[in-house]
């Protein structure tokens, strides 16, 4: 295994009683999701998914409702049993793991955040956040201390003895995050954590999470149905359609180079200004001279367009040694902007 913290190989999930039969038929005949449903009464949740997430990276999974995102992440801590395929987490094989080892993995290595918070209403915030430690038999005092720290990190200290229904939605989801972080796990699974919040709060929480993860370096699987969010948060993005991962790449790769119409459709409305970089759109020098207007190879499109404000002559792209490596014409810049 490489430095991948989470790795899934050829993962399949078919829901339903006749999943084994359906699985065989899908493999031999390549049935679609609808055909599987009509013939076997089974739902194809995940179809042959393979991906790996490096330590410390934020990996977004995005797709329309029903595309199998939730199903896919729930395999990582095996809340859902795979029909076929392998799952490796933090160097351990999860799909063949025994019950005790699995519970330990869930309690110590993986924290999870849910779309509808899923805070237990009969427990105080402290009891909610300390739950993972409680089921492992950690004494009350220690649990409370961890809960205090975790709530403090989410700017919720002082609320420890309150109940979830006394908090606003945004605060509740911060408790959800605190609960996931309380046991200091290496991995975070976040199933549309901010989707139920209104845009302003969502933005706030995204920023808070990003700055948090900058110094915590948790390996994060982040689900969203909003490409803007995926681009903001993700180091890599996987796009799902009908249970299948159709494309994996960096935000820039996805936006500039969608593999099919489904992905292209998502990408259409996305602003490229902060995504496309100079080296992607430059043309080779081919013996031409550099011009006085210069940008670095990793400059974003916005910066390049600024250069055309004064006059429309081409911009030179330089490498880190300040040597010219390419040119960008105004036409290339505008084409990239339109997408």
């Amino acid at each position: 295994m490489s430095d991948a913290q989470i790795e899934c190989r050829d993962l399949w999930k078919i829901y339903g009683k006749r999943s084994d039969e359906a699985m065989k038929a899908v493999l031999s005949e390549g049935l679609t999701k609808d055909e599987v449903r009509d013939r076997y009464g089974c739902v194809l949740g995940v179809r042959n998914a393979s991906f790996s997430v490096k330590k410390g990276e934020i990996f977004c999974i995005m797709g329309l409702s029903g595309s199998g995102k939730s199903t896919l992440v729930r395999h990582v801590n095996r809340l859902i049993e795979p029909t076929a395929g392998e799952i490796h987490v933090a160097g351990k094989r999860v799909d063949t793991m025994g019950e005790d080892a699995l519970r330990q993995l869930r309690a110590e290595t993986i924290g999870m955040v849910f779309q509808h918070m899923a805070l237990w209403p009969h427990r105080t915030l402290g009891e909610n956040v300390g739950f993972g430690l409680e089921v492992r038999g950690v004494p009350l005092e220690e649990r409370r201390k961890s809960a205090e720290t975790a709530l403090g990190a989410m700017e919720l200290s002082g609320w420890i003895d309150h109940y979830p229904d006394q908090l606003s939605g945004g605060m509740q989801q911060r408790v959800g995050l605190a609960r996931a972080l309380a046991a200091d796990p290496e991995i975070l699974l976040m199933d549309e954590p901010f989707s139920a919040l209104d845009p302003l709060i969502r933005r706030q929480l995204q920023d808070q999470f990003l700055s948090l993860s900058e110094h915590m370096h948790k390996t994060t699987l982040f689900i969203t149905h909003d490409l803007d969010e995926a681009i903001r948060m993700g180091d890599h993005i996987a796009i799902m359609n009908d249970g299948e991962i159709v494309q994996i790449g960096t935000p820039e790769e996805i936006v500039t180079n969608p593999v099919d119409d489904y992905v292209a459709d998502f990408v259409k409305g996305i602003s490229r200004v902060g995504l496309v970089r100079a080296e992607t759109i430059m043309e080779p020098l081919d013996g031409r001279e550099g011009t006085p207007k210069q940008v670095r190879a990793d400059a974003e499109l916005g910066e390049i367009i600024d250069k055309f404000m004064e006059d429309q002559s081409p911009v030179t792209v330089t490498n880190p040694e300040n040597a010219p490596v390419g040119l960008i014409t105004i036409k290339a810049a505008l084409t990239a902007l339109r997408g």
């Binding site: 809340l79 330990q104 849910f114 009969h122 409680e134 089921v135 309150h162």
Partner: protein
């Protein structure tokens, strides 16, 4: 034979069959049923002795305190009025007997019904089998099984508890099953995601969240047990029911009324108190039970 009136003759002698089967069971297995009586007998005797032998006013005070603790000062006052009325009408002794029968029944219904309900919620097949049995228990008129019960368990208060138990068990099973099934799936999923075992999930998440529904079941069970009071007095169960029955038998309207009123007052108290037990702390502004009522008052006094 008159073909037009073939039903004059009894073709399928169900009655005879049942009769013989019952005779056979009684002759061979009576000891089993006598053994079943033992735990019921133990609890009932303890409760009845406690309630009837303790000084009336002490019991009254205890009931009022419990009501106050469970449902606040208003319920405490209502209970005081109802119980005093019973006492003043001269039905105190009888009401204590009835109360202990009902309480015994509740103890056993909860002890057996709640685990059954949990199991039913977890195993669909078990629930499919259990459901028709519960329907049967609720729909067979209770008069019908008075006779076999008497033959198997003989007459008296313990048999009364058993009849009442059979009649009153279904709601607590049904509502426990419902309550557990209604727990939001993501609440359970979250518990599992943080490493809880099935047992931990049940005790720490599912049961607490289902508690209001389960308590509604217990409350219904209590009300059904109370409604059996008069019927079960036919197998010489003592208490308020017997006052009513004797009153009817002798056309003694006074006696029947006193018994009837006693049942009503007792029902009000038990119903309200058991309903208040079912309220979650969320509905009470998250005050813990020991922060309110007489216990809370004592605690604040001690703190000062």
């Amino acid at each position: 034979m008159d073909l037009w009136n073939i039903f004059d003759k009894e073709w399928i002698p169900v009655g005879v069959w049942v009769e013989t089967a019952l005779q056979w069971v009684v002759a061979n297995f009576r000891f089993i049923f006598q053994a079943i009586k033992v735990p019921f007998d133990l609890v009932l005797t303890a409760l009845e002795d406690g309630l009837t032998e303790a000084p009336d006013l002490l019991v009254l005070a205890l009931i009022v305190l419990i009501a106050w603790q469970a449902g606040g000062r208003k319920l405490g006052i209502i209970s005081a009025i109802c119980m005093t009325a019973i006492g003043l009408m001269g039905a105190w002794e009888e009401s204590m007997t009835t109360l202990s029968i009902v309480l015994t029944c509740v103890v056993f219904c909860s002890l057996i019904g709640i685990p059954l309900g949990v199991l039913a919620a977890k195993r669909n097949r078990f629930w499919m089998v259990l459901q028709p049995i519960l329907d049967l228990m609720q729909t067979i008129p209770s008069f019908v099984y008075l006779v076999p019960i008497v033959m198997l368990f003989s007459i008296g208060n313990v048999s009364g508890v058993i009849v009442t138990f059979i009649y009153a068990l279904p709601p607590v099973v049904r509502l426990t099953n419902l309550g557990i099934r209604q727990v939001r799936p993501d609440m359970v999923e979250a518990a599992r995601a943080f490493g809880a075992s099935n047992r931990q999930t049940l005790y720490k998440v599912e049961l607490p969240l289902a508690l209001p529904t389960i308590m509604a079941g217990v409350n219904q069970t209590i009300m059904m047990a109370l409604s059996m009071v008069v019927v079960s007095s036919m197998i010489s169960v003592t208490g308020l029911g017997q006052m009513v029955l004797r009153g009817i038998g002798r056309l003694d309207m006074g006696l029947a009324t006193v018994g009837g009123l006693g049942i009503v007052f007792l029902a009000i108290v038990i119903d309200r108190v058991s309903q208040s037990f079912g309220q979650s702390s969320r509905a009470r502004n998250h005050q813990k039970w020991y922060e309110t009522g007489p216990v809370g008052a004592v605690r604040t006094l001690v703190r000062k």
